[in-house]
């Protein structure tokens, strides 16, 4: 048993060196920095009170220029960005977390029923569960993002008050057009009715 344990331990330990020492494939193109696809143009930004959604209108001529530039470059993989954005979970994560969560609830319920004679233990468990909720809520709220004005593309995003965040985001519709030769950003800028105290 001791020999088997030692053998397994040695195998796992030496596997560190084996896997860590495998060389990368000789990919010269990966060593040279890739130029980015870029064209210089002008963008109009128009705030319109009657618009309902933000729109980015790109002339077809400029899309064609950009496409021509992209075709001369390697396919830049943005898979890393997709994986590290971290907002979605894949199927395996869902299955495993669901499995463990189910086991936790079932076995926790069994323990709870078995220890019904010990109210002190139950109080401890309830306190621990509440504490974990509080801790999770602290994490969630501490990491809460900026207010709604910085999370939707409207005229309010351009206000001085939003500058402290330094960034914002929101849904936008990207369209193409034949009619213009400049990129246009249409931003809804609904009029805010004055509050009762203001006149």
């Amino acid at each position: 048993m001791k020999k088997l344990t030692t053998l397994i331990g040695m195998t796992l330990f030496t596997s560190t060196y084996c896997f860590a020492d495998i060389a990368r494939p000789n990919n010269l193109s990966a060593q040279t920095p890739k130029p980015r696809a870029a064209i210089e143009t002008t963008m109009d930004i128009r705030l319109r009170p009657d618009e309902k959604e933000a729109r980015l209108i790109i002339p077809k001529s400029q899309i064609k220029q950009l496409r021509a530039q992209l075709e001369t470059l390697d396919e830049g993989s943005n898979n890393a960005a997709v994986f590290t954005s971290g907002n979605g979970i894949n199927g395996l994560q869902t299955i495993m977390s669901g499995l463990f969560l189910s086991l936790a609830i079932v076995l926790g319920g069994v323990w709870f029923m078995r220890s019904a004679k010990s109210p002190r233990a139950n109080k401890g468990v309830i306190a621990a569960i509440l504490l974990s909720f509080v801790a999770s809520a602290t994490f969630v709220f501490a990491n809460a993002g900026p207010p709604a004005e910085a999370r939707s593309i409207t005229g309010k995003m351009f206000s001085q008050a939003m500058h402290i965040y330094g960034f914002g985001w929101g849904k936008i519709k990207v369209e193409t057009t034949d009619d213009d030769d400049r990129i246009t950003l249409i931003v809804p800028n609904p009029k805010t009715s004055p509050s009762p105290g203001e006149e």
Binding site: T5, I8, G9, L12, F13, S15, T16, F19, A20, I22, R24, P25, N79, A80, F83, T84, G86, I89, N90, L92, Q93, T94, M96, S97, G98, L99, F100, L101, L103, A104, I105, V106, L107, G108, W111, S115, A121, V125, F139, A142, N143, A144, G145, P146
Partner: protein, 333 residues
């Protein structure tokens, strides 16, 4: 017959201890809040290696010569520490390897986290069996934590980074119970002061701009504290919080544990059963102790020569000592 009593206030060692603890935390919080990056570099340089030596020295003083009824527990502990350390190092050093896509790396990381949680839960259960108590609550808790490790792996890994410093405080609490029970109440008040200092740090730093990431080292320090995961929280706050908690961790191992437990004083080898017992392994013990001191010296030279690379290597191998803490802590419960 009437009895006259004089009620007076005597300054006890517990009072001195609590005042010194709170004062040290206050000074640390002020300095670290003002210079988080600089203090991160300084504290790791000065205390990382020595605190590992102190941990090793403390664990060996708690290791019995004959395991007896604890044989299963210690075997389970070693069976967890060695493979988990090897697997962690494999993941760490092969993360840029073309064999592994980012998705497979995330999966293996979640598998490692799950194995770690199941191992700790097993140790809790075995300890409960030894003490003839029902600690089977550990099983559902372990599965709950495992589900969190899969559904929010980044937050789980970050939680480990921030929970690790509290392990030392828990060790100290168990040790004070055994060897300095008169300090226990004072120590609980000291522990209660730590959230107070954290709230002050957060209140004063939440509006601060993010720290510089202009060098690889600064980026690493920010990333270690979770700046890329908690992007809406100032990295100044995160790094300061992490360095503050780690400083308390170092303070506990280097100063407080030897203060409350004479057996943990490094040069008192006669208090180490593995050294002094007739059935002990004195030569092997001295060899390991000497090696750990030499590694600390090498670490200092490494930090001086190339701080960033040495820091990366140190934190990769430091997982071994983090894992080794768990069996000894659970054994003290």
């Amino acid at each position: 017959m009437q009895e006259v009593r004089t009620i007076g206030y005597r300054l006890s060692s517990a009072h001195v201890f609590s005042v010194a603890f709170v004062l040290a935390c206050a000074i640390a919080a002020a300095l670290i809040g003002s210079f988080p990056l600089q203090l991160s570099v300084v504290t790791v340089f000065l205390f990382a290696g020595p605190h590992n030596v102190m941990e090793f020295r403390y664990f060996t003083s708690r290791m019995p010569v004959r395991w007896g009824r604890s044989r299963t527990f210690y075997l389970a502990a070693i069976a967890g520490v060695l493979p988990l350390t090897a697997a962690y190092l494999t993941l760490y050093f092969s993360s840029g390897n073309w064999l592994w896509s980012l998705e497979s790396l995330q999966t293996f990381t979640a598998v490692w986290n799950t194995s770690f949680i199941l191992w700790v839960g097993t140790l809790f259960y075995l300890r409960g069996q030894q003490r003839r108590k029902d600690w089977s609550i550990a099983i559902p808790i372990v599965f709950l934590l495992a589900s969190l490790a899969w559904v929010v792996p980044q937050y789980w890994s970050l939680a480990l980074v921030y929970v690790h410093p509290f392990i030392a405080m828990w060790f100290l609490e168990r040790q004070i119970r055994r060897t300095k029970p008169e300090w226990l109440r004072a120590y609980h008040y000291c522990l209660a002061s730590i959230p107070f200092f954290l709230v002050i740090l957060w209140a004063s730093l939440y509006g601060k701009s993010n720290l510089s990431q202009e060098t690889n080292l600064f980026w690493r320090i920010n990333q270690h504290a979770g700046s890329e995961i908690l992007q809406n929280i100032s990295s100044h706050l995160l790094v300061a919080t992490h360095v503050f908690l780690e400083s308390i961790h170092y303070f506990v191992w280097l100063l407080l544990i030897p203060l409350v437990d004479k057996r943990a004083i490094p040069w008192k080898l006669n208090d180490v059963p593995l050294f002094s017992n007739i059935n002990g392994i004195p030569k092997i013990f001295v060899a390991f102790l000497t090696a750990s001191v030499l590694i600390t010296v090498v670490l200092w030279f490494g930090f001086a020569a190339d701080y960033t690379t040495t820091r990366d290597i140190y934190f990769a191998f430091a997982i071994g000592h983090v894992l080794a803490e768990f069996p000894f802590l659970i054994k003290m419960l």
